[in-house]
Each structure stands twice: as C-alpha cells, then as structure tokens.
C-alpha cells in the first residue's frame, strides 16, 4: 500500500484511539515561551498536576523580550512579570530554559532546529501558530492553544482529529533572485487565507527539493497563513546534512539508526492526497503584499489591484477594506510605494542565510534618509554568527539598527513597533491590521527586497539599485 509521509509520522505517534474520541498523539518535543504558557502552568498547579516530561520540554523567551538594553531591567512591567513567571514556572517544574542573556536564547522556531532538537519524523508542538516551521525537517509540527499547552505539559500527548492531507507541488526552477519567501507568498496567494483549513500540507516537487533548510523553514513557517496548521517536507540529504553534528542530533551508531528511520520518511509512489495544488516555480516573481492578509500579494512588477477585479462580492469588499486601511490607490505601481520603515527578522526570515541575503545587497550603500531600518536576528547564536562574519558592520554602516534576538517588530509586543499610518517593508509573516503596531501598515517581502527597499525608500529589487 502506498502511504503518505504525513500518515507515517501520524501513525507512529498514536498512543490510543478511544472509541468515539479523537486519538491521542504522543508529543516528542514541546516548546514553551512566555506569552502562551503562564495560564497553562497556573491551571496545572490549581489541579495539582505535574509536568509529565520536563526532559521533552524546552522553554525560551522571545515574544515580548527587549532587543536593546539587555543589561538593564525590563522597562515594561507586564513583560517583566511574564518573563519572571516563565523563570519561576520552569524552575518549579524542572524545565530547561534558555533565557534572555543565554547564547541559546532566541525565537522558539529558530532555536529548535539550530540545536538539532527538531528531527525528521518527530511530533513538535508549541503555543504558537508558526510551529509549522519545524515541518521543514519532515516533522509533524503545529501550533496549539494554551489549554492544549496545559494538556501536553500534563500528559505529553495531544488529542487530535486527523486532518486531511494536501499536496502543494512546485515544479520547475525559481528564477534568479526569487526566494523561498516569494515562493511561499505565491503558495499562500494560490491557497487563499483559508484554503488549507483542516489540512496538513506536504510540499513536494523540484523547486522544494532545491531549497536549503533555511528556505524550507521559511516555506513551512507560512503554512498557517494559508490556513494549514502544519506543512511538511520529506527529509533528504539536505536535511541530514543540516542535522549532522548539532548539539541534540544523534551521533555514532545512533546516527546510523536514526538515518535508517529518516530515510523511510517519504511519501510512497502512487500515494494519493485529499487535495492537491500545483505551481510553476519559473513563473514566480518577487512578491510584495498590498493588503491585510498574507494571501493578498502581487509581483513587485505589478500594480495595486482594483477591488473590482476580484471575483466575489466578499473578496471585493475585503480588498476595498484592505486598501483603505493600507492607504493605497488601485493602479499604483508597487515600485512607486514609499516606505517609512524596514524590518528584517522573525521566525520566517531571521536566520543567518536571511541576514546574509540582506547584507549582500547593502555593501557600500546606505538606507535612505527618513527610513527607519531594523535587523533583529532570530536567535543569539544567529547574532553571534552574523557578527563573526562582519554582517553587523555592513548593516550598521548602511544605517540599520542591529538588535538582539526576539520576535520584535513582527508583532510589536516588546515596544519595537511601526507608528500609526507608517508603512513598513517587513520580512515577517503577517500583514494583518495593526500587526506591527496599532495603525501600522505592513508589506511582506523577502530579505533581499527589504534591504533594497531600505536603500531606495520605495519597493525595489536589488538589481534595480
């Protein structure tokens, strides 16, 4: 029988399938952060329950940590309290915490892979919707709510109705300068913001195989923007090469045993999916969002669309609302839209490869006067590695602010925000209304386009400079 990768991982984690109830799935890795966990720990303690597997749980601080002035006390009393709670909860329950100031601190979805904790065939959960990132390794990884966080802490399992399986097949070759970000924005545009609801996506095809692990993480990260709770990619030599030698990767005989298992994690020929969409990679151009969902994007060569051009009245209404919020006129060339701010970072594009791509555009150039530009590495290790290569100097000499690791301006919880009415070219994942700060206007782009846009002051390709 032909079996899909998704089923192989799912079946291997089935603990029990009680009659009339969704099955219990075993969870191999539970990542915890300060924002979605305090109520879960409180619930656990009120019920007198223990954390079942602190050894399979790892905590860090990312969502509301400051990215400057780490030597000073945290100024925001609410953030300080949340961070103090996490320290206390981890200490009380024996959970390893990579806190602020640790070299292992960073965005949960950057540090898991970096430590070699995310491995093929595992189940990974976190109280964060971008947990889908870890699917890049052929792990089944998805975001959960706080009540489910409490459930996983107490039982190391999750009760889950089995989702449908969707294939997103991308054949062909990405053009010069077209990145994983452009690819996933194209996929999300094709899916629509709810097209993947109820499904786990497997990304397949030549264009996916050709991506680096960093690129695959960017693609899987944004699965949720198409409504899919998880996205995964079958592991291959690119995956194994990334994992070999990392802190938590198996070694010696264990490495061989793990490899044997990992090599079995492929969708068998002839396996069928519940849904499939196909894209031609060679047709993709650098993407820029114009609206208030990640599905609302066009090519940088294009214009702001006319709401009347959409098929349904609901889509037309949504486009009109989005343009009003974004302060854009239909027919405006994307390249003519000026920006006030540029943000490079996040779990989507805050890894070393992303910073290299942005820095590669900047050498000898300067951010346009009046544009505020921020680089926030995805983890303390990414920051250190970038500094070892001299990327920090390229950014600061170009006029960027060089910050410490965290979620930062992706969601504006830590005070790094886009001011009301200001327009930001951002390498993050969501352009929802107010996402980067109340009244802020977000356009999602790749790191290279973000860097070029910072220099020009309006949306620009590196090649246009």
């Amino acid at each position: 029988m032909s079996v899909r990768l998704f089923d192989k991982v799912w079946d291997r984690h089935l603990v029990v399938s009680p009659e009339g109830q969704p099955p219990l799935l075993y969870i191999d890795l539970h990542l915890v952060h300060e924002v979605t966990s305090p109520q879960a720990f409180e619930g656990l303690e009120l019920a007198g329950r223990a954390v079942r597997r602190p050894d399979l749980t790892l905590a860090t601080m990312d969502h509301d940590v400051p990215t400057i002035g780490l030597d000073k006390p945290i100024a925001d009393p609410l953030a300080a309290e949340q961070i103090a709670r996490l320290r206390r909860n981890c200490a009380a329950h024996g959970i390893t915490l990579h806190g602020l100031g640790s070299i292992e601190q960073g965005i949960v979805h950057v540090i898991g892979p970096q430590l070699g904790l995310t491995q093929p065939g595992m189940t990974v959960v976190c109280g964060d919707s971008h947990t889908s990132t870890h699917g890049a390794f052929g792990a089944l990884a998805f975001g959960i709510g706080t009540t489910e966080v409490e459930h996983v802490l107490a039982t190391q399992t999750l009760r889950q109705v089995k989702p449908a399986a969707m294939a997103v097949t991308v054949e062909g070759k990405l053009g010069e300068g077209i990145t994983a970000k452009d690819l996933v924005l194209g996929i999300v545009r094709a899916l629509g913001p709810g097209g993947g609801v109820g499904s786990v996506i497997e990304y397949r095809g030549d264009a996916i195989r050709a991506l680096s692990m960093e690129g695959r993480m960017t693609v899987c990260n944004m699965s949720i923007e198409g409504g899919a709770r998880a996205g995964l990619i079958g592991p291959d030599d690119t995956t194994f090469g990334y994992l070999e030698g990392r802190r938590h990767s198996p070694s010696g005989q264990d490495w061989e045993a793990a490899l044997d298992y990992w090599r079995s994690l492929v969708t068998d020929d002839g396996a069928e999916f519940d849904h499939e969409i196909r894209l031609d990679a060679s047709a993709l151009r650098p993407a820029v969002t114009w609206g208030t969902t990640p599905a609302q994007s066009v090519s940088i060569d294009d214009k702001v669309p006319d709401p009347g051009s959409f098929a349904s009245p609901a889509q037309q209404q949504a486009a009109q609302r989005a343009l009003t919020y974004m302060g854009l006129e239909p027919g405006t060339a994307i390249r003519d839209i000026p920006v006030d701010a540029v943000f490079i970072g996040s779990c989507t594009n805050g890894r070393l490869e992303d910073l290299r791509a942005a820095a590669g555009v900047l050498g000898g150039r300067h951010v346009r006067p009046g544009v505020r530009a921020l680089v926030v590495p995805g983890s303390a290790r990414v920051k250190a590695a970038a500094e070892a290569e001299g990327l920090d100097r390229i950014f600061t000499q170009a006029g960027f602010e060089w910050r410490s690791a965290g979620c930062s301006m992706c969601l504006g919880m830590n005070g790094d925000i886009v001011a009301p009415g200001q327009r930001c070219a951002s390498t993050s994942n969501r352009n929802f209304e107010g996402r980067q700060g109340p009244g802020g206007r977000t356009h999602l782009v790749s790191p290279a386009v973000a860097a070029a846009t910072a220099v020009a002051g309006h949306f620009t390709l590196p090649g246009d400079l």
Binding site: P18, P22, V35, T36, E42, L117, G145
Partner: protein
C-alpha cells in the same frame, strides 16, 4: 468549566471574512498572565470606529457573534477566545473556523457553530432587519435558530466536541485515564530521540 446546553440571546453581526485573532485581541493584551480581564480589549482597534458592530446600542449583553468565513485565522492565541467569553459571547456562528481557533473555543467552552454559508447569509439578513432578534444556539440539537425570522439550521460539530461542551469536561482528566497506554508508548520510543538533561543547570 461549566457545561453549555443552549444559548439564547441577542446577536452581533460581523459581516467580514478572515477575521484574524490579532483583530479579536490585539497583541498588547497578551502580556496578561490571567485567563480573564480581556473584555475591554475585544476587537480593540475596530472599536475606535463608532460604526463598528460591537459599538451598536444593544451589542452589550449579546450572547452570539455571527461572523464571516475563516473566523479566527492567524495567531494561536487562546486569549481571543477568552476575550469573546469575557465580553459575554457564548457562541460564534460562521461558515468556517480556523483550526486552532476552533480547538481553543471548544477547550474554553465557546461554541463554534459552523453553519452553511447560505444560512449564515440568511441570519445576517434577519439581523439587519431586526438587530434585537433572539438567536438560539442549541448544542444538544446542533441547531442555530432565529425564531422570529423562521430560521432553524443545523450546524456541524463533531460528537466528541459536542460532548465536551455539553459536559464542560476536563480534557486532561479524560486523557489521564489512558496513563498506562502513554507509559507503554514511552517504553517503545527510540533512545536516540532528543531530550533535555533535567540535571543540567538552566542557561539562565
């Protein structure tokens, strides 16, 4: 958590698709460490607009929110459900819910009533005609009704979710009945899978 059988009350009509959880509860509210106290933050940015549905006289005290498709997309924040509950909503009626939001709603006793799109459209029309119309969400029968408009529609809700909502069940207690199966599963996990060393000092 108390069980929920039948919800009867006024409704607020939010005729937009793809309402994301950043709109339902803006990020600034996520710094709270409690499960309550979110009512003032519900649809925080949109409430600055006097014409917004929640600012209509009579919206306060409503029990049902009727919304467009793909409600609750985006961030996993369960705070969105807590904010809806704190405001007084006991059910959301929509043609479709985002996966994580749906799970969070069931976890926290907010009924996600998924109704056929054409029926939701009829409910919107009924509420446009009479914003004070009484709406009845019957969890046991899995129906949404607007009696004054002659609307009575089934909604989709899996049996297990229905049971949890009706009984207000503690899901963890239910799972711990299978503690032996979990322990047995753990003995079969490969030893090379990654784990933290609980004896190692925290890295701060």
């Amino acid at each position: 958590m108390p069980g929920v059988q039948r919800i009867t009350g006024r409704a607020v009509a939010l005729q937009r698709d793809d309402v994301d959880t950043d709109q339902i509860i803006p990020a600034a509210w996520l710094k709270r460490v409690e499960r309550t106290g979110f009512a003032a933050g519900l649809f925080g940015a949109w409430r600055d607009d006097p014409a917004f549905a929640l600012n209509r006289p009579g919206a306060a005290g409503s029990k049902v929110l009727v919304a467009g498709d793909n409600f609750g997309c985006g961030s996993s924040r369960e705070h969105a459900v807590w904010a809806l509950r704190d405001f007084g909503f006991a059910a959301v009626v929509s043609p479709g819910f985002a996966d994580i939001f749906r799970g969070n709603a069931i976890s926290s006793g907010l009924v996600p009533a998924q109704v056929d799109a054409a029926a939701v459209e009829r409910i919107f029309q009924a509420l446009a005609g009479d914003p004070e119309a009484e709406v009845v969400v019957d969890v046991a029968a899995r129906t949404v009704a607007v009696p004054s408009a002659g609307i009575d529609e089934p909604f989709a809700l899996p049996d297990f979710a229905r049971w949890r909502l009706l009984e207000g069940l503690d899901d963890i207690a239910l799972t711990l009945r299978h503690a032996d199966a979990i322990t047995a599963f753990e003995t079969g996990r490969p030893s090379w899978l990654p784990a933290q060393d609980p004896a190692a000092p925290a890295s701060r």
